[in-house]
């Protein structure tokens, strides 16, 4: 029986394993050094905040794996011996494979800051990171978080839930400036401050200072300000977790290099998820995709190929979502931090400053290219269809109610939004009532 070995039991590796099982009878082994069972990394914060126990982050019951004949192995892979098709494990054993899928995920970035390896200085990526955050929390009165992105906000919310004060250092002049347009960045910043976070823009970390036990006691900013703290969260992005491949036969750059079939340069070895880097992305996105959904889609795709049905990775319209404290964010298509040459936009914000809708469209054709919403839930299928089919703005506005996905009885803002749109564009679009037929005609 052919043996498929998967390194990494995150969403990418596990999705691949589940789909290979559905498609074939191959022997499947999933190796991970982190935890025995698959868990949802995205839910780590909820465990710390006591919303859930760790077991609740595990999407499958423990006997699922045996029932589905997916062997789990807790070990660290030290080396891949591609000529003998075997793995060297940290427990001294070797494991032979016929096909190999590398799904080792990411690790938190460290940019060589002095003091970055002190005690209570860490990122938030793994289960072990969560454990050590837990360990240091009891003795932390103030935490400094470095790097304004999604994981940083989560960390801030986590600390605040335990009454630990947070100072948040962001290098750019606005929040998540590499991704969010100015308006959204400001909206998020306001909300973060409303929660009592000491949020500082244009502020960079210079150095982390140690106390006599090797634990952080303060940080120093580029401007020379010293901020006392007992914990430093490093959340300035993540990068592929592939040191163990350095100097091996498999080609790597920042990640494991793959083609559109997720295949590496070595036959029968694939890479998926956060750790994969496309030589050239099949749909022209960035070559490394570090989100849950893309890992899942790559897992589904590679399973087809591994089972003999060679399939290229073809993700649909880009989408993503997040939550900044109490404000949910959804995005469909592309809304870049700065408008591109051919783009123009429409921005509506509710007077409470916590909800907004941002549509980006083509200047000349008026076709919708992307949308951001804060505080309003949107219907994925509808938004995807609009963007895929390049719907014109007037039409999007007319049928805006179709796309609303807020819970029943929520206030709806389409009328207000379209009124503003008409005023700004001299149009006379009138909003149509939601229609099930339109929603489901895909």
């Amino acid at each position: 029986m052919e043996h498929v070995v998967i390194i990494g039991n995150g969403v990418s590796g596990i999705t691949a394993a589940r789909h290979i099982r559905k498609l074939s009878n191959k022997k499947i082994t999933v190796i991970s050094a982190e935890t025995e069972y698959f868990f949802s990394r995205t839910a780590l914060m909820y465990v710390y905040m006591g919303h859930m126990k760790f077991e609740h982050t595990q999407p499958y019951e423990n006997d699922f794996w045996k029932k589905n004949r997916i062997d789990l192995l807790k070990a660290y892979v030290q080396q891949i011996d591609t000529s003998n098709k075997q793995l060297r494990l940290d427990n001294g054993n070797f494991l032979a494979y016929d096909q190999l899928i590398i799904a080792t995920g990411s690790q938190s970035n460290k940019f060589g800051w002095p003091g970055q390896d002190l005690k209570a200085v860490q990122g938030l990526y793994s289960y072990q990171d969560l454990e050590s955050m837990e360990k240091y929390s009891a003795t932390t009165q103030r935490a400094v978080i470095v790097g304004g992105g999604l994981i940083g906000v989560e960390m801030a919310e986590m600390f605040l839930s335990r009454g630990i004060a947070v100072t948040f250092l962001v290098r750019e002049d606005r929040f998540w400036g590499g991704v969010l347009p100015k308006q959204e960045g400001e909206l998020v910043a306001r909300h973060i401050r409303q929660h009592g976070v000491d949020l500082r823009f244009n502020t960079e970390l210079q150095e982390i200072l140690s106390d006599k036990n090797g634990r952080v006691k303060a940080i120093v900013t580029k401007e020379g300000e010293e901020i006392g703290c007992q914990f430093v969260g490093l959340t300035a992005g993540v990068s592929p977790n592939i040191q163990f491949l350095k100097g091996g036969e498999i080609q790597i750059n920042r990640g494991v290099l793959v083609n559109e079939f997720l295949a590496t340069n070595i036959e029968n070895i694939y890479a998926i998820g956060d750790c994969a880097e496309f030589c050239e992305h099949p749909t022209g996105r960035k070559n490394i995709e570090q989100v849950w959904y893309t890992g899942r889609m790559m897992g589904e795709t590679v399973a087809q190929t591994v089972c003999g049905n060679k399939t290229a990775y073809q993700p649909g319209v880009w989408f993503n979502s997040a939550k900044f404290f109490d404000i949910e964010y959804q995005t469909y298509g592309w809304v870049h931090n700065e408008l591109k040459e051919n783009e123009t936009d429409f921005y509506w914000e509710h007077e409470d400053g916590k909800k907004c809708l941002h549509l980006v469209y083509d200047k000349t054709t008026k076709q919708l290219l992307g949308m951001n919403t804060f505080g309003i839930r949107m219907r994925h299928e509808v938004c995807e269809k609009w963007i895929k089919e390049g719907r014109k703005m007037d039409e999007v506005m007319t049928y805006l109610k179709d796309a609303n996905f807020d819970p029943e009885f929520y206030k709806q803002y389409e009328d207000e939004i379209v009124k503003q749109y008409n005023q700004e564009n001299g149009t006379s679009v009138s909003v149509k009532k939601r229609d099930w037929k339109r929603i489901f005609s895909s």
Partner: protein
Amino acid sequence: MKDQDSLSIAQPHPKGIDFIQKLGLVISAIGILILLVAWGGYTFQQNGLFLSLSLGTIFLGTVIYAARTYLTQPAGIHNNGIWQKSFTNRGMWGWLVGIVLTGFYVLLYWYPQYLGLAQNGEQNKGLVALFDPLSQFFKGQPASQWFMYGTIYTLLICSLGIKFMLKYRDNRYQAIRTLVVIVSQLFLAYLIPEILEGFSDSNHYFAKDIKNVWPLNYYFFQDWHLNNMLEHGGNLGMFYFVVGLFLFLVFTPIITYYVGKRWYCSWVCGCGGLAETAGDPYRHLSSKKISVWKLERWMIHGVMVLVFLMTFASLYGYFTNSVTFLGLEIYAYFQRPYGFLIGAAFSGVVGVGFYPLLGNRVWCRFGCPMAGYMGIIQRFKSRFRITTNGGQCISCGNCSTYCEMGIDVRAYAQKGQNIVRASCVGCGVCSAVCPRGVLKLENGPEEVRVKDNPILIGKEEIKMDVG
């Protein structure tokens, strides 16, 4: 920019609880203390005064505490520490509350004399006596243990309902739903029945909580109850009889078709009302295991069979004027065991007493025949579903954790499948706690109700098909 936001919220994330919260707790503790002293057997000289004091302080203290706790934070659901506190995580306090509640129910159903109910023509004592003035006011007679219980029950739904509304205040579905829960309990289940009781023949009791429909009200068709309604109840009795039949036969199936069983289970039902309000801190304790789901289906449908059988026997007896059915005495073999095992032990003692141990919907999930009946409609012939939003699920597990009915919502959501389950009571909390906007309770065309989503490549059915 709302500058004043940050001013109105002085310190959104304080450690521990502050003076006003403590004040709220102390005020409601006074009220609870009065109840406990009375339960202990002490009979107050001025019951009216102490009753007002007790009910008033419990209500006031709870509202002060809740308002201070939730209004000092920006709106949003924060289940911080739920799994870390002894009170809500089956710790010592959880067990203690469970034991006290269970004990209370045992006395309520089987030993009301220990709550002070009058024996052999004496006067009420202790806890029941405390409620005499209010009962006298409504219906001109001393309180029964049921009057005492109904009053406390209503007080809990009202005060903890307000707490719930404050906690979930950014969610209008929750706010409106809970307002309806409170109003239904206060008027339909408490005030109107108690007032009507005052006008009617007290020797011939029949149920006057109009929304307490058979089969939840299992004795509706028992001979004594039919007699009391039809022969002694006058126009009112006839009205309740006709409405009861109509609700069960016509209203329930139609409304359940249009909006799912939630219209009853999480909007108007008394058991559901207590579960949603007082039981809210325990909703995460329901088991999500597939094995428990199996058990659930056996149990709930089992109870349904029992209630049908018992009712059939009762009606047989009623129409044939016989006290036996198939040679078995109807009371001893059908009515009494059902009332004891299901009506009292299951729905009361286990159903509420075990909130802190098994979650707030034990009865609704495993026992309630009304839920079973509507569940079948909801599963097979209804417009209600929870729509999953394409591929947005991140498998975090908040939805499953906070589903009081123990539905593994995530199992569906992460595959892009809509949730169509017999047991879902439509509380909407899964949708409320989902951090990615994945879930929407909605009523829509039946054709697209169960649907695999094209955005997730590859299709997978959930193994067990009948919910």
